[in-house]
């Protein structure tokens, strides 16, 4: 299993297209709050570096604000706060994943993008009940894959659950 390191959005997109034609289920793995998570690669539009985020007043803490990418405005969610994880300080490897959810774009702030992992169906298990209960509603499963002589674990996220929020409910008095 090759880990691909991404240096530019263009490189990523090109490889993304190549891979999409070969794999049945590709997962983009990334680090957030000291854990490794994954999202279906088909949901991901692009990966961008950190940029200035315009704050939206009276929004929940996990909603950092909005950014404009190529003329399109989208909300940016801090995945670490959303999943109630630790929030290490943002660094050079921090990225925003631009994902599609119900026809609209969202940004997910993560600490580090790892690579694309292919999973066969038998390598994915449902999430164990012992995992932190606060995370549970967002999890879609656990993927294990061999990496050399080690076994890597990727916690698969349900994008629907992560992005299913309506800010008004959180804000209205």
């Amino acid at each position: 299993m090759k880990d691909i390191s991404f240096t530019t959005e263009e490189t990523y997109l090109r490889r993304h297209d190549e891979r999409r034609t070969r794999e049945r289920r590709g997962i983009l793995s990334f680090a957030a709050g000291n854990e490794v998570y994954g999202i279906e690669i088909l949901s991901i539009r692009e990966i961008i570096k950190l940029r200035e985020i315009t704050e939206v007043p009276r929004a929940p803490r996990f909603l950092l604000g909005v950014v404009t990418v190529r003329g399109l405005v989208m909300p940016v969610v801090d995945l670490r706060i959303r999943l109630r994880l630790d929030s290490p300080p943002l660094g050079r490897n921090s990225r925003i994943l631009v994902v599609m959810h119900k026809g609209e774009r969202f940004g997910l702030l993560v600490d580090d993008v790892r690579g694309v992992v292919r999973f066969a169906d038998n390598q994915i298990e449902p999430p164990p009940p012992s995992l932190a209960p606060s995370e549970a509603p967002f999890l879609a499963g656990i993927g294990r894959h061999p990496d050399g002589d080690k076994e890597r674990m990727v916690i698969l996220l349900s994008l629907d659950a992560v992005l299913d929020f309506a800010v008004a409910a959180a804000v209205r008095r």
């Binding site: 704050e55 909005v66 404009t68 909300p75 969202f106 992005l163 800010v167 008004a168």
Partner: protein, 705 residues
Amino acid sequence: MSIGGDGPSEKALQEFLSEAQEIVEQFNRDLLQLDEQRAAGSFDPEVINDAFRAVHSLKGLSGLFGVTRMSNLSHNLENLLDSLRLGRVELQPATLDLLFEAVALFNRIVAETAAGQSGDDGANLVEDLIARLDRVALRKEASPEASPWGGWELDASLLSVLTEYEEHRLRENIKNGRSLYRIHAAFDLMTIDKGLDELKGRLKPVGEVITYLPSAEAASDQQIELDVILGAQAELRAVQEAVVGTGAVVALLPRDKGAAGAVARPAPTVVPESKSEAQAAKKAEAPRRKSDGDDEELTLKSVAQTVRVDIRKLDNLMNIVGELGIARAGLIQILDRIKADRTQAKLARELHHELRSLSRRLDELQAGILEVRMVPLGQVFDKLSRVVRKISRDAGKEIRLSIAGADTELDKLIVEELSDPLMHVMRNCIDHGIEGPEVRRAAGKPEAGTISIRAEQRGNHVVIEIEDDGQGLDEQKLVRKAVERGLVGAHEAREMSRRDVQNLMFLPGVSTKDVADHMSGRGVGMDVVKTNIARLSGIIDVESEAGQGTRLTLTLPITLAIIQALIIRAAGRTFAVPLNSVLESLRVTQNDVRTIERREVMSLRGQTLPLARLEKLFRLERADLEGVPHKQFVVVVGLAQHRIGLLVDELHGQEDIVIKSLGRALSDVPGIAGATELGGKKTVLVLDVAQIVEEAVSSGGAEAA
């Protein structure tokens, strides 16, 4: 729906058929009315106008769906009906028969289209009818060159001080066959406000005031003299009666001799001699920013070449134009750098020249796309008339619906969002406003209730007025219900002005019926309507007289796409405030801000203006430790009769911005309407003034620090 390609899909076909059928039915009903009126001797111009509009809709509809036979027939029928409604051709019995034939032919075409038949023999019938229609249409009164002002003599000094818009209103009045009056009035400087209000009040029911001309010669230190130009359907005597007691003198404007009755079109063509000229003349209606030369091209093609466009594609185009604007800004920066280098002066000049061209084209492109998004309100109004017919039938009330200004155009998005609220308003009108026939008879009113919808463009806005001659608002009941629901304190209620009381109808729960009926439940409250209108950055207002009727006025921006905005900063963040909500802005210091009952206010021209600190409302924290600066700005914004002043730190001037949606997840964030990119670099939130005002008002304004 996607752009039309190889013929209508099944669903689209059904849509077309049902709409077409309705319109043809309406047309038929109009003709039946005219038939009845023929016996009485005089035709109601409203009915002819209605028939004209029905055929016009049919033309558009069949053009969209590619039913060529129908659109050709409608096209020629429209010509004839246009001449009829303008009085250029007389409606004789034979002509009416022709029109009935057209109805039969329409029905046949609809049936054939539904059955999937091409109806070749039908095509011959259509051609034959068209030929006969044309013969009638061209048989106009042998009038000489009709003057461009429809027979009215308007002196140059009057015309030279009219704005384009007022000139347009003048022409519209003339086109609609109204008479023009000049009303001369003198006012004492001390009491001019009252005197004007009085005069305005007297003239409003009689006609439309086109403009007020101040006359400098007669002005003494104590007096001002004015000439009011009025367009009215009424006779001279009626207008004079309306202003009796005010000291105003009414006179008809002079007319050309020998031009009585002939109402011509404004330039360019005068008497249509061929089909194409007739079409060009017709398109001179409601002129937009097109050059005359293009009009003819457009009309000749318009029948077969309208295109259905997914509005998201237009949004995409707008985005691209926005991006081009950003690129242009970048180029300008580069130009500046080149200019700084003296050795590159020639290069700088050339680049500057090209950039200017580019800018011009870009502006044209932007305007062009905006124009494409514009559709006439007639779309919504047609649907409304069908809805009204149904509701009134169900309610057992007879309603006469009159529509004006169906040509007025608005952004397609707004027009589509309007149909629901307008429908609710109609329902409200018919259910609560118009009385049953017996009650009306007893009150001396005509048995049929009248609802009139008037749309008009005023500057950057479109104003839609919906007026009924029903029983008006029951103000006591409104107050009672509002107090019952805890929306207003009993004490407050006693202090409220009439206007405030009437506006109670927009509070939730106040305007619905007490008992749900089996047909429409409780009805949809006017608070929902108000919210929907506010979402379109519009406002709604009500005026009512007990026993006489109610008028609702909706004011909407013409387009949501590009607006002018005032850029402000508060607590280190930048925001954009749509300029059409801004009434004024002023500099203040903290000394100007007072606190009354824990609310911050200031005094503005003798009145108390409630204030709202944007940073408090939005719970923004200041980065620096200095706190609120001593000098700030107040941006006064308004929503219907409510005004508040927003306290902000800096004003950064005006910009044209494109508002972009924040997406569904954030669409309900209170106080924010969207976002925009300023100068291509900075994403800035656009304030939703309506929501902010409501929030400030309902929470009692900002709390004192």
